[in-house]
């Protein structure tokens, strides 16, 4: 082996060794903001149940006030495959819309910028959004093609562009799907904010976020947008090779809260994933609460509804023990 060939290979070997050593170290997890966070876990066996009452119960138990606010509902609309469950179910979106209107929101809109597909309206059709949500055309904004404004200080970037419909919202409700993710371990309410990044500037996929780093981007988005609430659709989630090619997994829950870190940590516990081992949650611990002791569970306890999601081999180390 000559020097030209040896040096890069030696560099990679050293880097791999460092990564291996680093992964065995106990991660430092910030203690989070003062106080505790409320997270509601509400049972819902199917999409045919009275989801309005269930979401209403969860929102009220978390103490969220929305009167007079302009709300943007951000579902997880990624791709469509009739053989599995990729997207936030239309019934959950329709129910959330009704709840926030009932609670006195000044305006409720729905917005999404899918990361792969260009025809957002076609995806919305396939996911039965148009059929299920009355007045969908007037409520929906394609965030990939919305007007944009620059935001400074995003993940060390000089500026990052975001849709005006997002920037104008008083409250962004992350209507996520409970899924495993082949790059991030899990995709829940925090990762769902990837859809706020406009394709018109960053493309399909939003590859800039991959270059910033997936965990780093998740944290940066959640640091930029603090006016958030989460409703995670775990009635039927996805396990295995998520977020697109996994298999349906019935969990029968809706998980809600204003602290998205605490909501995602709770979802992980329900999925049989140790949230303290999920990289983006470790990094986000300064934004919210990861530890069980700092989360005031409302409704069901995560343990009582735990139903382990199948994990791909790369993420088998995330399994929650106990």
């Amino acid at each position: 082996m000559n020097r030209r060939r040896f040096l890069p290979l030696a560099g990679i070997a050293a880097a791999a060794g460092y990564v291996s050593w680093k992964s065995k170290q106990e991660p430092h997890i910030a203690s989070g903001p003062p106080g505790n966070s409320a997270v509601a876990v509400i049972r819902a066996a199917s999409y045919q149940e009275d989801l309005v009452s269930k979401i209403y119960e969860g929102v009220r138990s978390c103490g969220l006030a929305v009167a007079g606010k302009r709300i943007l509902l951000k579902p997880n609309l990624v791709e469509f495959d009739s053989a599995t469950v990729i997207n936030t179910d239309a019934a959950v979106i329709a129910a959330a819309l009704e709840v926030f209107r009932k609670l006195g929101a000044a305006e409720v809109r729905i917005g999404e910028g899918p990361g792969h597909r260009r025809d957002t309206y076609d995806l919305a059709d396939d996911a039965a959004y148009r059929k299920t949500i009355r007045g969908f055309e007037d409520l929906f904004v394609d965030l990939n093609r919305d007007d944009v404004t620059a935001v400074r200080g995003f993940a060390g970037e000089r500026e990052m562009y975001f849709p005006n419909s997002v920037l104008a919202a008083d409250l962004i409700v992350s209507l996520a799907k409970m899924k495993t993710h082949h790059w991030a371990g899990a995709t829940l309410s925090m990762k769902n904010l990837f859809g706020l990044v406009p394709g018109s500037v960053y493309g399909w996929p939003k590859n800039k976020l991959h270059y910033i780093g997936i965990p780093e981007s998740i944290v940066a988005l959640n640091r930029t947008f603090r006016n958030t609430f989460a409703i995670v659709d775990g009635i039927v989630g996805m396990e295995g090779n998520g977020p697109i090619q996994g298999t349906p997994k019935h969990s029968g829950v809706l998980v809600m809260g204003s602290d998205l870190v605490a909501v995602d940590a709770t979802c992980c516990r329900i999925m049989g994933i140790d949230p303290q081992k999920v990289e983006y949650l470790q990094m986000a611990a300064e934004l919210g609460h990861l530890r069980e002791a700092r989360i005031d569970q409302r409704g069901e306890s995560p343990r009582s509804v735990r139903s382990d999601f199948t994990l791909i081999e790369d993420f088998s180390h995330l399994r929650l023990v106990s």
């Binding site: 890069p8 290979l9 990679i12 791999a16 792969h116 597909r117 260009r118 025809d119 309206y121 076609d122 059709d125 396939d126 055309e137 394609d142 093609r145 919305d146 007007d147 944009v148 404004t149 620059a150 500026e159 562009y161 082949h182 790059w183 018109s200 500037v201 960053y202 493309g203 399909w204 996929p205 590859n207 800039k208 991959h210 270059y211 090779n241 697109i244 090619q245 791909i312 790369d314």
Partner: protein, 296 residues
């Protein structure tokens, strides 16, 4: 689509032009390079559109940066993939000499980060989680990112059309490399998705719009048998429900001499980009501007 449909789409574009000369993705929204460029292509040659096009081109040119890159709109400062659209629009308007001297070198200088030696090395020792071939240089959506099918296909078209302005070996070499990248990323189902035919050894399905764009980029490729991808496009055309996908598939099929009827319109009625693409894909439309052109 009938002649009346074509006329109504062209009238829609004329009627919805913003005061600054451009078009938003939706009527009344901020002007963006993408809908503006496709509106120029759609309207070129139609009666009474000279002033509309002149104003649109003046705005589009204002988005070209001193180094040759193009911003996607007034509100964004960074250059992006739309440089290819600037060059294609210039070619369609017969004014390559105004923009090509800077934009062609800018595009030649741009390449996906996966072609860097570090990534090639990581691929060589199987550290990458995707199976993409990293030996070819394509184009990213945003500088500093990886190559993807759509920006690569559009840039290949733009560079092929730029040969009418100035033909040199560097341009031809990058065109061939771009074509090779497109071909190397074709999925097992015969088409293309955004650029990852498989992830973690799982096949990822093709998308109709990206498959159409890939085939558009491959027009005029020497010694390439494209009969199988063309069959994939025809199959997707019959299966696809998406208005946008059907518009791109129609353009691709017309570019290859296959005449097809228009598809359904399920998108928002104020969607300017869709309207422009449907007009371009009309049998009497300007789909030829997305062809390789005639080398000088």
């Amino acid at each position: 689509m009938t002649e009346v449909d074509l006329k109504s789409r062209l009238e829609f574009l004329k009627r919805t032009q913003n005061a600054d000369g451009g078009w938003g993705y939706f009527v009344g929204k901020q002007s963006w390079m993408e809908p503006t460029a496709y509106a120029i292509l759609a309207l070129k040659g139609s009666s009474g559109s000279e002033d509309v096009i002149r104003r649109a081109w003046t705005l589009a040119q204002s988005w070209q940066l001193p180094d040759g890159g193009w911003r996607p709109g007034s509100q964004v400062q960074d250059p992006t993939w739309v440089a290819a659209l600037g060059l294609i629009a210039a070619s369609c308007l017969g004014c390559l000499d105004q923009v090509a001297p800077k934009s062609v070198p800018w595009l030649l200088n741009m390449k996906g980060q996966e072609s860097k030696w570090t990534v090639r090395l990581a691929s060589y020792v199987h550290l990458l989680k995707t199976d993409v071939n990293v030996t070819h240089r394509g184009w990213p959506w945003h500088p500093g990112n990886s190559s993807w099918i759509e920006p690569t296909a559009l840039t290949v078209v733009a560079l092929k059309r730029s040969l009418a302005w100035n033909s040199n070996g560097d341009v031809s070499g990058r065109i061939r490399d771009g074509e090779e990248l497109i071909l190397s990323r074709r999925g097992r189902d015969g088409g293309w998705n955004s650029g990852n035919p498989s992830v973690l050894k799982y096949d990822v399905p093709s998308y109709p719009e990206t498959t159409a764009l890939a085939l558009i980029g491959l027009q005029g490729s020497a010694n390439k048998d494209l009969s199988e991808p063309l069959r994939a496009v025809q199959k997707l055309y019959l299966e696809s429900k998406s208005s946008l996908a059907t518009a791109w598939l129609t353009i691709a099929l017309h570019c290859y001499g296959v005449r097809v009827p228009p598809g359904p319109n399920r998108s928002a009625p104020t969607d300017v980009l869709l309207c422009a693409l449907q007009a371009i894909g009309h049998p009497s439309g300007n789909f030829r501007f997305l062809g390789p052109g005639t080398p000088a």
